[in-house]
């Protein structure tokens, strides 16, 4: 029987309604930003073009902008600027029904808790930021977490590694940690060395919360994974120690085959330089220096100072390592490195040549936060919390999962032995070799049992 006109009309109406529904459902997806899809061709961290007024998404870089460590926030400004340029050039993020662009606010902690607290308060109360991101120094982060809780503002911890930060009573639902922890680094290293010939380990760590906690975890894991391992020495040095020679002489005398070192900044650099200057050769491989295993070995300056060959064998256990086999990572590297060649001081040094280590960590963190607020359709903290708990981010081929109970990121850990010559990095220095991935399940960050079962949904 031939379809009547009325029936045909009904089919057309239903078809149109279906198309409208699909369009309306698909529209947010098509308007969603995608990392690295924006116009980054002219991005220059010295001449950033994000909006400075209007209805924007205000992201605060809450970190050290002054004093001897000002390079930290200076670098994060370049990284967030890159992300902002990328997203803003794609039209921004749909928030509360409107497309909003990212604005960057600087908040100087001066690397101390009290100024950090005041800077966080000013950013929240005067600058009306939607989120604080930072910070170098777990002692400063503690102060910021209290402020975030008081003013109910999201705080993204992308650089403070002390495990205790995500325990009660400091923890609050407003804080999300997107970086690793001391314990996850230590566990990953313990598992890495379980499969290797070295058996004598010397612990040389900074004498504060992070150093002690990491060392304790490493010793425990080593006991479980490598019963024949020996800790032949254990020392804790004050942060910003000048002369490591007396410590390194004890390392030499102990016959250690690996130095497990939790040190950052000038300490990490001086340790690397001075151990080579003292001629601390590996007992197992006399053509190499005693490997130091650390999360912060990939700073360009000390590796340049000791030269390429001397850097071979160092073991980098960062929580963010570029895996160039992944297409999106390769794309990121290409874009970044091409731009870097056009940048002027202070961004034209080897430190910025590739977006590795801490740069990659923060980049991932900023993109992830932006994806979350896009998912939530809002910067309202409660909605962000609901959207972020249990969320994953894997644009760079490496899945990050936000543990809902305590807002701690869970991810596999990459470990690399430094090699020379290195194809990608600075030709004057050793660089990360093939990545050994330690599964997340084997190196989980610590978890405060009191938070078990806590969900905001």
């Amino acid at each position: 029987m031939k379809a009547t006109g009325k029936f045909q009309g009904r089919r057309i109406v239903i078809g149109c309604m279906f198309m409208v529904v699909v369009f309306l459902w698909g529209l947010p997806q098509t308007m969603a930003f995608e990392p690295l899809k924006g116009d980054l061709s002219k991005y220059d961290p010295n001449n950033q073009t994000f909006p400075t007024s209007g209805d924007t998404i205000k992201i605060a870089i809450w970190d050290v902008f002054s004093g001897p460590d000002a390079w930290i926030a200076e670098a994060y400004y370049a990284i967030l600027g890159f992300v902002a340029q990328d997203i803003n050039s794609q039209g921004g993020i749909r928030i509360d029904g409107k497309m909003k662009k990212i604005q960057i606010i600087k908040a100087d902690t001066q690397a101390r808790p009290d100024p950090g607290k005041r800077a966080a308060e000013k950013a929240i109360l005067e600058d009306k930021v939607n989120v604080l991101t930072g910070v170098a120094g777990s002692h400063v982060m503690k102060a910021g977490m209290a402020v975030a809780k008081q003013y109910k503002t999201i705080l993204v911890n992308n650089a403070a590694y002390a495990d205790e930060l995500m325990n009660l009573p400091d923890w609050s639902e407003y804080v999300f940690r997107t970086c690793g922890t001391g314990s996850s680094s230590a566990k990953a290293l313990g598992i890495f060395y379980a499969r290797r010939p070295e058996t004598k380990f010397y612990i040389l760590a900074q004498d504060y919360l992070w150093g002690h906690g990491s060392a304790a975890t490493f010793k425990q894991i080593l006991k479980e994974t490598k019963p024949n391992a020996k800790i032949v020495g254990e020392e804790y040095f004050p942060v910003f120690t000048k002369d490591f020679a007396p410590y390194l002489e004890k390392v030499r005398a102990s016959g250690a085959e690996v130095i497990f070192t939790m040190a950052w900044g000038a300490d990490s650099e001086n340790l690397i330089k001075q151990s080579v200057q003292l001629g601390l050769k590996s007992p197992l491989h006399p053509d190499l220096y005693i490997p130091q295993a650390s999360p912060f070995l990939d700073a360009a300056q000390p590796l340049e100072a000791i030269g390429g060959p001397a850097g071979r064998g160092l073991v980098l256990c960062t929580d963010f390592e570029l895996d160039r086999r992944v297409p999106n990572v390769q794309k990121l590297c290409n874009i970044w490195n091409t731009l870097w060649k056009t940048w002027k001081a202070p961004y034209n040094t080897s430190l910025y040549q590739w977006p590795n280590g801490g740069w990659y960590r923060n980049l991932t963190s900023y993109y992830w936060y932006c994806k979350v607020i896009e998912k939530a359709g809002s910067t309202d903290p409660k909605k962000v919390i609901a959207a972020w708990e249990g969320d994953t981010f894997g644009f760079f081929g490496w899945k990050h999962y936000m543990r809902p109970a305590d807002h701690q990121v869970i991810a596999d850990r990459p470990i690399c032995e430094m090699v020379y010559p290195h194809k990608w990095d600075n030709p004057k220095a050793a660089g990360p070799g093939d990545i050994v991935w330690i599964p997340a399940s084997s190196c989980l960050p610590t978890f405060d049992e009191k938070l078990k079962g806590r969900l905001s949904k």
Binding site: D69, P246, E249
Partner: protein, 290 residues
């Protein structure tokens, strides 16, 4: 030598090297205080400035020896200009004003190095002629650290020669004792002050330049060196070069053997020693009552 003996000898030399570096920084500071009564808070900042100058000369010429020669001299000139145009003008206002202005100078130097050299740490490598290790009776020791010791002894020798064997040295020592009397005898004491300040900064500059290959050259370098230098000056006695020398060496050894035997207490030993000395002799070990 047995491995234990090798370890202890190595620690002794490490202590000596560090002590000598401390002495270079502290000697200028104690001279300036002894002469002018100025506690120069910015002293270590000038050492840091010299390290940056050393980096810059090395970058242009590739010659470490030239950098070692030029950098401290330039730092010394900066010191002379500081004394002439800043410190001299507040001298009449008393010691507090002088102290405060040196705090300001410290901040200016910090921001200046950040402005010109950025905030990252810089690479200063050991020159090829001083690279490598000395092997002797089982001991392995870096040649560069031995150079630091030798250079410090040379500098000390030159200073002692100038101070005790030259007319200039006589004038300087006399001015330390009684500036008014020396002025009454027709000596241009402001010029002597300027010279002494410049030499003091030059000494800090030498320390900064030799420390560059050992330590990280970064804007926080002054903080690393400054506190220890003040302890040396306080314990040794303000204005006493001999005191600065003896205490610097002692603290260097205390640090090395402290780390060897009681590492957890090593960072506080220096301050504990300072407290003990000041309790027993408030003017410092070699300081004199006015």
């Amino acid at each position: 030598m047995s491995p234990t003996a090798v370890l202890y000898v190595a620690q002794a030399i490490h202590g000596l090297a560090y002590g000598m570096l401390l002495f270079l920084v502290a000697s200028g500071l104690t001279m300036i205080f002894g002469m002018m009564g100025i506690l120069n808070i910015a002293h270590a900042s000038f050492a840091m400035l010299s390290a940056y100058f050393c980096y810059q000369v090395l970058l242009y010429t590739g010659n470490f020896w030239l950098a070692l020669l030029i950098a401290p001299v330039v730092a010394g000139i900066c010191g002379v200009l500081t004394e002439r145009f800043l410190l001299r003008s507040v001298h009449k206002q008393g010691h507090l004003a002088e102290l405060l202005i040196t705090v300001g100078i410290m901040a200016v130097i910090l921001e200046t190095v950040k402005l010109f050299w950025g905030t990252e740490s810089l690479v200063v490598t050991i020159p090829p002629s001083l690279k490598g290790l000395l092997h002797y009776a089982g001991l392995t020791y870096p040649i560069y650290r031995l150079f630091v010791i030798a250079l410090s002894v040379l500098v000390l020798g030159i200073m002692a020669l100038i101070l005790f064997k030259t007319r200039l040295g006589k004038i300087v020592r006399a001015t330390v004792s009684d500036a008014d009397m020396v002025s009454a005898l027709g000596v241009n004491t402001p010029l002597v002050f300027m010279l002494v300040f410049g030499i003091g900064i030059w000494l800090a500059g030498v320390a900064g330049a030799v420390a560059g290959p050992l330590l990280t050259v970064f804007p926080g370098m002054a903080d690393l060196l400054g506190m220890d230098a003040f302890v040396v000056v306080v314990v040794g006695g303000f204005g006493s070069l001999l005191g600065a020398f003896v205490v610097a060496l002692f603290l260097g050894e205390l640090n090395a053997y402290g780390i060897q035997f009681i590492p957890r207490l090593a960072p506080v030993l220096m301050f504990a020693f300072m407290a003990l000395v000041l309790a027993l002799k408030p003017m410092g070990l070699f300081g004199e009552r006015e």
